[in-house]
């Protein structure tokens, strides 16, 4: 009996020791940042071109120019500056001296040339922004610190797109090239950059985690940040609820920047964390396939545009953590007409317009489908809100859960493109070209950005002209005119411009949001406590 009591006692004590001791709870290394945002699918900066990749790329790689601040401004980085020829075709960049890759070899113009050739040859990711205007052979390095680009025709957004291209270390990559793949297989899980942080490839687990270590020898130095983060542990937490709870509990330092609006207050109320709220340039769009009846009827599309409860969605569901956006260009960017009235929520008008479309022979009784991205709650909510109201005006909308990769491949042809689908257009480069230019110029048909299959010769002309003019005032006028047309013709339903909500622990100081890379710029972040 005694022995048994004793055993029970020790067992209980041991259990208490294991359960009760505060080990591993919010007790963390002082210079380590745990950043729980989505990881890019792979690590090759030339193969991928999306928001998670930008968050990785701005830290591990350097680019000729970078974006800074909000609203973002272009600033010279690897390049000290550039000149453009009068015809807008020849762009010459001068490089800073003394830039070194992570392996200590110097970064020269040759590397820039090789990086662009690599991008243009593998034809993935950001290549789409350059392929129409740039041949690989037309990137040259007359000397060690000069790079010259010769464009096929004038393309003003060229400079805005320059920060998309990471400069990679040819000497590291070349030995790892297999089957003429430009080292893609290798670079998918390694790094070859010069950026402020260095990837520790041992820690990399696809879509799960990777660790970054500070690069003390970065060419810009660390004078601006006396308390830099030594190690960044990037962790991808699949489950939103877990991510937010981990932040509140102090297990991580940052969430992604799409916090569910209902959780903002909860995070703000906690003693451990806060939410940074920044108006971004990321427009939510309900796409309409303009080539499929009845969506090919302009009145029908206008009817749908009047049938969305914008205020209910933005104020009710999103608690005003978003700003109504009338057209395709984010309202806080030039080129978006300030006086353009957004579509209002008006079911009577919508009903009239449906009747009008019907009179014009549109098959308005056909049920239409809207594809959502199933793991993004807002796409579901928006679709369901539209569904509710459309039912009131006699239009049947069916919701189909789908995923980004399938949706993107379905937009290659008008027949396979869904009637409607929901997505955002984020900031890849800061120029109206990123939005209206690639969304409504019919030469982009077949890409997801132009998946409404909108075609208007006038708009095509305006957009193409805007690319060639270097005068921003002139370009503004062209984009504003194009915006008015696509809005009048209700090419798509534009909902809002995003306010990005990123949960940050109170340890994080110096966080600065930029639409490009969503503020995942660790160079300026420091940690307290």
């Amino acid at each position: 009996m005694k022995r048994r009591t004793f055993l029970a006692g020790t067992g209980a004590a041991a259990a208490t020791a294991v359960i009760g001791s505060p080990i591993a709870l919010a007790q963390r290394a002082p210079n380590e940042l745990i950043w729980a945002d989505q990881l890019p699918g792979n690590l090759d900066p030339h193969a991928l071109f999306d928001v998670p990749m930008q968050g990785y790329m701005v830290n591990v790689y350097d680019t000729l120019y970078i974006y800074e601040g909000n609203p973002p401004k272009l600033a010279p980085w690897l390049a000290s500056g550039h000149t453009v020829s009068d015809d807008g075709l020849t762009w010459t960049f001068k490089l800073n001296d003394g830039v070194k890759f992570h392996d200590d070899s110097p970064l020269t113009a040759e590397d820039v040339v090789w990086s662009f050739q690599r991008l243009l040859s593998i034809k993935k990711g950001a290549a789409s922004a350059f392929l129409p205007v740039l041949d690989p052979a037309n990137v040259t390095a007359p000397d060690k610190s000069t790079v010259v680009f010769k464009l096929k025709h004038s393309y003003v957004p060229f400079l805005s797109a320059i920060p998309l291209v990471a400069i990679v270390n040819r000497r590291v990559l070349e030995p790892n090239v297999k089957d003429n793949d430009w080292g893609q297989a290798w670079l998918s899980s390694h790094s070859a950059g010069s950026g402020v942080y260095v990837l520790d490839p041992e820690t990399y687990r696809p879509v799960q985690q990777l660790d970054l270590k500070r690069n003390p020898g970065h060419f810009k130095g660390w004078g601006h940040n006396p308390q830099p983060v030594e190690v960044v542990r990037r962790r991808n937490i699949l489950e939103t609820t877990t991510r937010i709870n981990a932040l509140i509990k102090g297990e991580i330092d940052a969430t992604d920047s799409y916090l569910p609006t209902d959780q903002v207050e909860r995070v703000m109320k906690s003693k451990t964390a806060t939410v940074s709220q920044d108006e971004s340039m990321r427009v939510m769009v309900l796409r309409m396939n303009n080539k499929k009846a009845p969506l090919d009827n302009v009145h029908y599309r206008q009817a749908l545009s009047h049938a969305f409860n914008y205020k209910g969605f933005i104020s009710g569901v999103l608690k005003d953590y978003a700003v109504r956006n009338a057209g395709p260009i984010p309202a806080n960017l030039w080129g978006a007409p300030k006086d353009l009235p957004p579509y209002d929520y008006n079911l009577d008008k919508a009903k009239e317009l449906v009747a009008k479309a019907k009179a014009e022979g549109a098959p308005v009784d056909r049920p239409i489908e809207i594809h959502i991205q199933q793991h993004l709650a807002q796409t579901t909510q928006a679709a369901q809100i539209l569904q509710q109201d459309l039912r009131r005006i006699g239009v049947t909308l069916n919701i189909v859960p789908n995923l980004w990769p399938q949706l993107v491949s379905s937009t290659a042809k008008p027949e396979t493109t869904p009637d409607m689908w929901v997505h955002w257009v984020s900031t890849y480069f800061v120029d109206p070209e990123n939005w209206i230019g690639q969304m409504y110029d019919s030469s982009f048909h077949g890409t997801w950005k132009a998946s409404c299959w909108y075609k208007n010769d006038k708009v095509d002309t305006l957009l193409r002209e805007a690319r060639r003019h270097s005068d921003q005032a002139k370009r503004t006028a062209l984009y504003e005119e194009a915006s008015r047309i696509v809005v009048a013709e209700a090419a798509d339903i534009w909902i809002y411009n995003t306010i990005e909500l990123r949960g940050l622990s109170n340890r994080v100081k110096g966080f600065q949001f930029t639409p490009v890379g969503s503020g995942a710029n660790f160079r300026i972040i420091s940690l307290t406590g």
């Binding site: 687990r205 699949l238 609820t241």
Partner: protein, 336 residues
Amino acid sequence: MTRFVLRRLLLALPALFGLLVLTFIMLRVLPHDPSAALAGENATPEQIAAVRKAYGFDEPIWKQFVIYVGQVARADLGNSIISNRPVASDIAWRLPATIELTFASLLFAALVGIPLGTMAAVWHNSPFDHAMRIVTVGGLAIASFWFAIILQIVFSMDLGWLPLRSRYPEGMPPPTAITGLYLVDSLITLRFDQFAAAFKHIVMPAFTLSLGGLASIARFTRAGVLETMQKDFVHYAEAAGYARKRIIWVYVLRNSVVAATTQIGLLFGALISSAVAVEAIFDWPGVGSYAVSAILTSDYKAVLAVTLVVGLIYAVVNIIVDVVHAMLDPRVAENL
């Protein structure tokens, strides 16, 4: 015994072969053109043709199957469409986490379920028996992903007893890799701090996972004990003056547990299944959360590789279970 193991392995071969055929069919036939998917979004027809040739998709189907079997034999499950890395290595890294989690759950389910089931049988049709059955079957009926979230909120957020997520504290050096199972490795190297850390992280996910297994184990033990108690050798033991406690907890239980071991193989399948959602919620870096990522990114190569690997593990576990069963009950080995 050796003969038994060999024969059991032989018996598993047709099912394994079938599994290969099944995944091969899913891999080759169902997606419209795997080469198009592999070549990427903006691939030109020439690129697609090159992929087709490189992967041997232009070969006759039987030859492709032979190639596939050869690849699997070399542990080559192809590259992920997303990460562009060998799926096999991604899975291999995650496997120990899943194995540790499922085994911990199984152990917990057995340690609780067997005594519960025995007591329920001893007090057959008593209020305890009824209550035990309702509660354990309740465990079987609970949606694990739902329960996982509730556990997180209660034990991690409100009470603050347990870590919310992950397998191990961030930044803490993990135990020296011997088996890859943190709990085991930390004990082998006598690092109790590491053991405590790993233990705390595994408590909630393992408990969530174990609920389903617990119900089955308790149920089978109960049935087994009831059946065994009808056996003459129990009456004899009683008549021969064995202590009743001893009869039940050593004699009867041993026989019932022997019968219940056959269930453990099946349970393992159920556990791996629930692990998919549970790992995702607890951010457990295992095969389950990998499967969820793969589903979300439509990485069908990864999904099928998970299917194949889980199928293989399942087969291996069932073979081990049968061998253990044969060791516990010597009649089994002689009857095969």
